[in-house]
Amino acid sequence: MTVTVPSGSLARGRALRVLRAGRSNPTLAAGSVVLAIVVIIAVFAPLLAPFPADAGNATHPTQVLLAPSSAHWFGTDEVGRDVLTRVMYGGRTSLEIVVAVLAIAAAIGIPLGLIAGYFGGVVDQVIMRVTDIFLAFPALLLSLAIASVLQPSVGHMILAIAVTWWPWYTRLVRGEAASVVRRPYVESARTLGVSHRRIIIRHVLPNAATPVLVQISMDAGGVLLTAAAISFLGLGAQDPTCEWGLMVSQGATYFTTNWWYATFPGIAILITAMAFNLIGDGVRERLDPKRVLSR
């Protein structure tokens, strides 16, 4: 029996559900709103920014280090570029970095964790020892090492951070997978003759994913800060790329006389990292208690 529902009321229903969800979880709501604003600004930067050319190589020797004014809301930097524009474009860089790092780390870490947890024994041992080795590297030191070998750049920085990030996911997933594997429904699948691959994808992954999803959402803020720190040290993004950490570093020299240069990128880092953290907390709130209740 099919029921036709007028499309208008479907949309209204969905909107109501979103509103209700927002009220029940203000952390998630607040973080989402802020992040949404950041994302929109970043995505539409070419359209919204007042001086798009300033995001690149443009220099304006006559407008060096101007204080914030109606023409330049955030002032200008030491080669005359509009700071507001560069902060907006910096958002794109930061988001790219966060998404890329988390995607790479998840793509490496999750499958390894599933395999280690599912098969156990020697496979588990080997994977976990490799994981331990990578866990030993702090992101900063590894970037230093990579920067000394390769040219420092955003791309290499993403690689460096991702390489130090994936082991955490492997650990998390392995623990969950190992407990899921013991459950009767996985044993049933094995006795039914279902292949290992299918069992891992259809049973273990969905049931082991929750903690890792929570962790990923909580990690976004951390990745952002790590990238900013690495760029701040000159090991990541290089001029003329707009990257908040790099801008803070460049602006630090002028801080006592020209406060705006370092401050606005700094505030951008703060707000975005906070938004990510609020979302991470909100996601954890939503998923964890449900897990406890529904076992």
């Binding site: 003759g193 279902v194 049973h203």
Partner: protein, 318 residues
């Protein structure tokens, strides 16, 4: 036909199953495996399903070695023998719809079109007493009894000839139990199934099995036809087990054997494993382990089985 020969399973220093030999003939036929905690009955079930590594002996199905089977032979075995677990809560993947879960086994053994699968699922659901539209539901939307029925349907989907039922109703309420047991009895007739029914509940086993095998601490102590075994138990442990079951119309059974000092007992290597608690123990019992031998149509492992079988089935006080 499933044949266990001297099946042994060890977990480190502990022997969970000690040289158990047992046969489950083709259906319709039920063999009950009874024992208390630590008897090894669940371990045997898991060994048969290749869920646990064995330390000795063999399991053969239709003459073929099952434990070392690979490829096509293994696949064939997986279709022939299926298991239903005890816990209705975790026996189904909480994130998988019922219909998908039931069809999973079908898909593992060959391509099935979506329509064909849906049709089979609907038939199976009806066969186990559920509605076809339950296929869209998630496990938490069903009761414990219903979930066990789904587990049975899932096992039946690959058209097995034998089922291993590990305490299939122990976690269910008594009224629900009765209905699930009726279902098992019906399926046995309709599909000519054979099964190994593991239970600690003698009444359940009596209802569904032609033959009973009694386990004590990993050892097979008595095997025989149900009615005779329960009416005239040969092994003292069987008698104690039988006598300990509280019955509705009788006074409470007096405890027939000494408390199980399970926390103290080191593995018994010499003599009968039951010697410490047996009311009929003599010196020989502690020195020589009784072998399983024929007696009045059954197999018993007891030096004094001839006397024991003549004793009255312990009549309760009162």
């Amino acid at each position: 036909m499933l044949e266990l020969r001297e099946l042994t399973v060890r977990y480190g220093p502990e022997t969970a199953v000690d040289a158990v030999s047992l046969t489950v003939p083709d259906g319709p036929f039920g063999v009950g495996l009874v024992g208390e905690s630590g008897s090894g009955k669940t371990t045997i079930a898991r060994a048969i399903m290749r869920l646990v590594a064995t330390s000795g002996g063999s399991v053969r199905y239709d003459g073929e070695d099952v434990l070392r089977a690979r490829g096509a032979a293994l696949r064939a075995y997986r279709r022939a023998v299926q298991i239903v677990f005890q816990d209705p809560d975790l026996t189904l993947d909480p994130r998988m719809r019922i219909g998908t879960a039931i069809a999973e086994g079908m898909r593992a053994h060959g391509r099935v079109s979506r329509d064909a699968a849906s049709a089979r699922v609907a038939t199976l659901l009806t066969e186990v007493g559920l509605e076809p539209d339950h296929a869209q539901r998630l496990p938490h939307q069903l009761s414990g009894g219903q979930r066990q029925r789904v587990a049975i349907a899932r096992a039946l989907a690959v058209e097995p000839r034998m089922l291993v039922l590990d305490e299939p109703t122990s976690a269910l309420d008594v009224t629900v139990q009765a209905r699930v047991l009726e279902l098992i009895a019906a399926l046995r007739q309709e599909r000519s199934l054979s099964y190994l029914l593991i239970s600690h509940n003698l009444a359940v086993v009596e209802q569904l099995c032609e033959q009973i095998a009694v386990l004590y601490h990993g050892h097979l102590v008595e095997v025989g036809p149900t009615a005779e075994l329960l009416e005239r138990p040969a092994h003292p442990y069987t008698r104690a087990l039988r006598a300990a079951v509280p019955e509705l119309d009788e006074a409470l059974p007096a405890p027939a054997i000494r408390p199980d000092a399970a926390a103290d007992a080191a593995a018994v290597t010499v003599g009968c494993p039951f010697a410490d608690r047996c009311p009929m123990v003599v010196d020989r019992c502690r020195q020589e382990r009784p072998a399983l031998r024929e007696l009045e149509g059954r197999r018993v492992a007891c030096h004094r089985a001839e006397e024991s079988i003549e004793l009255p089935r312990e009549s309760p006080r009162g």
